[in-house]
């Protein structure tokens, strides 16, 4: 489909996989450079983009490279020249990119990565969980998790606009569950190019490498202390990293602002842009989850409420920066929180669980919090697992019992006949 065709139709809904929704968003964001290396379940994103380029629908340079590390390095270099840059990856692909991730954020390059989430080996698994997404937590990127294919498409435009905002200049990951979204077709409303262009104007980058006289240096060597010379003062590493942290903290306002502008222009919103609430108005018990786990939870909320529970759902959309202030405001006065994690901070517990506990530190009369692990390596997360977890948590809450061991739902140890 050409861009004029998009503009011609008032309501252009296509049935697309999550991967193709991401590819369409890249095309309509008019990315200038794509560099990627194929990995399941992401590969269709960049395959589709290469088709768009071949067919002349997207004027972009597709850099073929020999690994994800090179893809990330190429993205950094391309972004430093002032081009709008995107890539896509999964699991070990992201892990191979890892070395470059703090380079991108430290250099404040507004790159976007679409991450079709997948478990990390060993043992070998190509199926979904959030391990890769979680592993990218501490390198200074903004991180979104989407819940359906429309949100993937919409969040990509927001991601570029946020990452490229001069108040932010931080690279961004747009993640979505591998297979469950990446390979599942759903209706996606595509917007016309004119409106996308108005929302997301061409990138005005802060570094212009094509102008030799303007180059101040990208990714310089820094020392523990400030260096003062006649030609100027060079910040130390400490000052650079302070600036990155402040940019992330300040980005929350920009993320909300960009989300609200998108909602106003296109009529679709995702809670407050940071997290979404469902049936929480009268709820004293809240389920906290993201992505596919949250989606599955939506299918059982009515059933739990019919059983007399005042229960609702909060879907985390923005994982980094963690929206601490907004979460504290929301959870103030709530009685119980049940958290379902599709990833573990190994040796501790579910990542959302300990992140939220920390965020609510010092609240008066704090909620009782109980977390569960679900769906690692693509194990089906069923509504019944969520219901089981809620009942277990409420039972513990009643007794005021705090547990220290992680609990896995949907395990099938009893079916392993070699165990006693």
């Amino acid at each position: 489909m050409t861009q004029t065709e998009i503009a011609d139709k008032e309501k252009n809904i296509k049935i697309l996989t999550g991967n193709y929704a991401a590819a369409h968003a890249y095309m309509q964001s008019r990315v200038g450079v794509i560099s990627a290396y194929p990995i399941t379940p992401q590969s269709p994103v960049v395959e589709k983009i290469s088709e768009f380029i071949r067919d002349g629908k997207l004027k972009a340079k597709f850099l073929l490279v020999e690994s994800e590390h090179s893809a990330a390095a190429a993205c950094c270099a391309a972004s430093a020249t002032g081009s709008r840059v995107g890539t896509a990856t999964s699991a070990h692909g992201l892990m191979l990119m890892y070395e470059m991730l703090p380079w991108a954020s430290g250099t404040r390059l507004p790159i976007v990565i679409n991450l079709a989430t997948r478990s990390c080996g060993a043992p070998w698994s190509i199926w979904d969980d959030h391990s890769d997404f979680i592993a990218a937590r501490d390198v200074g990127w903004i991180q979104f998790m989407c819940e359906d294919n429309q949100e993937i498409y919409d969040t990509n435009f927001q991601a570029f606009k946020i990452a490229e905002d001069p108040r932010v200049y931080v690279p961004t990951i747009v993640a979505y569950d591998g297979y469950l979204l990446s390979h599942t077709l759903m209706p996606v409303q595509l917007e016309n190019q004119e409106n996308i262009d108005a929302f997301l104007p061409p990138l005005k980058h802060h570094i212009n490498l094509s102008d030799i006289s303007q180059i101040k240096g990208v990714g310089p060597v820094t020392t523990p202390n400030i260096i003062k010379r006649e030609e100027g003062t060079a910040p130390g590493y400490y000052e650079f990293r302070y600036a990155l942290q402040k940019a992330l903290e300040n980005s929350i306002d920009v993320i909300k602002e960009v989300h609200d502008e998108f909602a106003e222009k296109f009529g679709r919103s995702y809670g407050n842009g940071l997290f979404k609430t469902y049936k929480t108005e009268d709820a004293d018990t809240i389920i906290f989850a993201m992505g596919s786990v949250s989606a599955q939870t939506r299918t059982v909320i009515e059933k739990l409420r019919a059983d007399g529970l005042k229960i609702g759902l909060v879907t985390l959309r923005l994982f980094r920066p963690f929206p601490v202030k907004y979460l504290r405001d929301f959870f103030k006065g709530k009685k119980n929180i049940v958290i379902f994690d599709r990833a573990i901070g190994y040796g501790y517990e579910g990542v959302l669980c300990y992140e939220l506990k920390a965020a609510l530190y010092g609240l008066q009369d704090p909620p009782f919090i109980k977390g569960f692990i679900v769906g690692l390596g693509g194990r089906d997360v069923k509504g019944e697992h969520i219901i089981e977890g809620v009942h277990r948590a409420l039972e513990l809450s009643k007794k005021g019992e705090i547990t220290y061991e992680t609990e896995f739902l949907g395990l099938k140890l009893d079916e392993l006949d070699f165990l006693d």
Binding site: I13, I15, W127, D128, T184, L185, Q296, V381
Partner: protein, 199 residues
Amino acid sequence: MTENNTDWETISIVIIGRGGMGAVTACEIIAEAAYLSGNFVDVQAYPTFGTERRGTPVQAFAKLSRKEKIWDRAAIEHPNIIIVLDVTVLNEVIASSIEKNGIFIINSDKEPQFFAKKFNLPNSIKIIVADINKLAVERGLIIDGAPMVNTPILGLLSRSLTELNLDNINKVVQKRMSNELAKLNIELIQEGFNLAKML
């Protein structure tokens, strides 16, 4: 027996066949046609998650919802409709997974009663059978030496799920294929519709 309009709020469909038979494409066509019909507010289609190889047993899935957005991401345990492209992959486990008022659609030269008896299916389950292989061979819908049954069998589906009428299926087929191939497919979908033997 007459055409039956099912009143399920959401309809889950599983297509079973072998890699290369177009099970995934068929599910995609079903989802698109259902959405196009205007009778469903949300649809999904997806392959077996993982790797698929030519010739190995594969499954593909579709979920159609009349009123609500589909948030269900779990595997389909008890499909409302099972479509069998290749009977050699149909077994007891698959047959017994069907929902109690479900619809079985089978590509076979046998009679519907044969399958009712073989898999001990209750009367509440509708069985629709047609020899789509023969139809595809006779009409020359052959790709890489194999008869393509994945689109003609949609005629049988349309027979049982009338909201998914032939017009919508044909529109989607037209959009996805070259003119000549689409024309043949559309003819065979109609013939499949006509050939349906129902129990």
